[in-house]
Symmetry: C2
Subunit: 353 residues, 2 copies
């Protein structure tokens, strides 16, 4: 019998806590029968939710704590106050202790990253971790990183993002040599920061067997699906993600309002419901929920805080797949192959500069 | 009789040149009867177009040149090859010589900025120019800058963007003290580059009479209309703009495809046409076309290259309004008031650092 995929859930994270986390787990379990869950949080809140989901109850264990990291805690505060005792920490700790294969939390991003980094430590060869997300595109899906873990960074950092993103794409999209682009702006001569140009030169010069570097990609190239992986530092990655999500939400709202305006448009909505459903299936932020932390000795997935149970289930699904397809070992292999892709990159960078 | 608004058009810029520029001018003239045009480009291409638009013909003068700046020219190449002779240069020169109040071009952004900067020079107190755009939001419109003129920049640069953006908002939105936000990412402690934090401190400390600084705004806050003006350096501004435009286009395409799928959805489209039209009116990139170059001794507006005549007309409209409402003098006044808002800002910055 194959072993179970063990998922630790921070049942106090996000705007709704257990009320979203538990039904989310039930939805994900329906799709992945070989999953089992550690539900970490206030037993008094988890149990009533769990009583409504019998299959989940049979596949879950509650670990009680009533300490929650708040959404407004600074990372350093969260580390000080919530270390060892908070549901967020205990979910990460379950990964650290080998009791879970992945931790999923909808809590405070900065706190989750700080705790994950502090407790799990970065992989050898990786200086700074990243948050990667899955972006719906015209041609399918694209992995974008970093979405805000690390602000700025040199060419070496960007190259390590490329390697980690390619590892994730190879397991997620089942591609041997996923295409990788560097996010940049269009105009030739003022083409972005020096570190982006340098990273491009290194990636081209190294011609790594694990990824196919295709050059610079502009902001609208993400949605066009120009590459399997798009790499940028955390500030612009976060801005791009939120600008795109904001636009999608804005258009969906406009459309919803427009459809309610007259009996004609309401009728139109009824007839064209399939088309709207298709749009929602593709562009719903719920569906692409789940930011994978990369570069750590353990798997952690961040869910949006203000998400539905369906959305939280998507984040669990992402965590499940990362375990199933052995992302961590894959990244480690890529980082260590041939004496370390990143070490050879570092040497190349020194040669370039 | 009030004087005319004189608009110089680069009739060789953009993907289609005169075939879009001339009908675009005709559309804009229909909305602004006091406009007149210098059409600069190949007479053999302009004249046949102009023959179809009699009112425009009466309000226009052709200045012939057959030298065009190509879309692939680097800014330095364009300056070397196209100086004095190209349609792009001659449009800017018309502004420089006082023969036009504003120049509009759909040509190569880098070349247009390089030529504008070289020929018009920056305003006193402004180190580096910016490209500003008008972004459709939930609450109306927001000015976003810089969209890609200048990569990076210190706190002083960001503050000068805030002042120039506020001047533009005050004329465009008719507000005495427009709200201004700095684009940043959400997490408290890793809240972005130091220069953004410093710029925030300066803007708060100075409490300028021309603008109401409201703090940091995240990527999705642009579309929510959190501020009249959103300030960021050119790399992330360009990425945000293109990510948002790309998403809007992607959703529109998905919707169009979805509506064509079955007879039910087609019928739905017919009934709900008003709702789609409202969505298009709001989110169509054509409608928000026209990036105003700020910080120069003269007005230049950049249109998208691959745009329709309607879209190019929007860019002309933006230029028209900037002249009509005397943007340039307004910016100069703001920069020079009380011994210069920016100089006092610079002093404040030294005090802070």
């Amino acid at each position: 019998m194959p072993s179970k995929i063990r998922i630790a859930l921070d049942a106090m994270g996000g705007d709704a806590g257990a009320a979203v986390v538990v039904p989310g787990a039930a939805i994900s379990l329906g799709r992945h029968r070989d999953a089992e869950f550690l539900l970490i949080g206030d037993r008094a809140r988890i149990e009533p939710e769990l009583d409504r989901h019998h299959q989940l109850k049979a596949a879950s264990k509650i670990i009680h704590t009533d300490v929650a990291v708040s959404g407004s805690d600074k990372p350093s505060q969260a580390l000080r106050r919530g270390r060892r005792t908070s549901s967020m920490w205990m979910a990460i700790d379950a990964v650290k202790q080998g009791e879970a294969d992945v931790a999923v939390s909808a809590g405070n991003t900065g706190a989750l990253m700080a705790m994950s980094r502090f407790h799990l430590r970065t992989l050898p060869g990786v200086d700074r971790p990243a948050i990667s997300g899955i972006w719906p595109t015209k041609r399918g899906e694209t992995i974008v990183l970093d979405l805000g873990a690390t602000i700025g960074g040199d060419a070496h950092h960007l190259v390590s993002l490329a390697v980690m993103g390619a590892a994730m794409a190879s397991v997620l999209f089942d591609k041997k040599r996923p295409t990788v682009g560097l996010l940049n702006i269009g105009v030739e001569e003022i083409k972005g920061h020096e570190e982006i140009r340098d990273a491009g030169e290194i990636l081209r010069a190294r011609n790594l067997p694990e990824l196919d570097y295709i050059g610079f990609v502009e902001g609208d190239g993400i949605g066009k699906g120009h590459a399997d992986v798009i790499v940028t530092e955390g500030y612009s990655g976060n801005i791009a993600l939120k600008a795109a999500e904001g636009t999608a939400r804005q258009m969906a709202e406009l459309l919803r309002e427009g459809m309610q305006r007259t009996w004609m448009t309401k009728l139109g909505y009824l007839f064209a419901r399939d088309a709207f459903q298709a749009l929602r299936n593709k562009m719903d932020p719920n569906k692409s929920n789940g930011g994978v932390f990369l570069g750590l000795n353990g798997l952690v997935v961040k869910s949006h805080g203000g998400i539905s149970a369906e959305g939280f289930a998507s984040a669990i699904d992402v965590g499940y797949e990362m375990v199933k397809f052995d992302l961590l070992n894959k990244i480690n292999q890529m980082l260590n192959r041939e004496g370390g892709a990143l070490n050879s990159v570092q040497a190349a960078q020194e040669a370039v500069s």
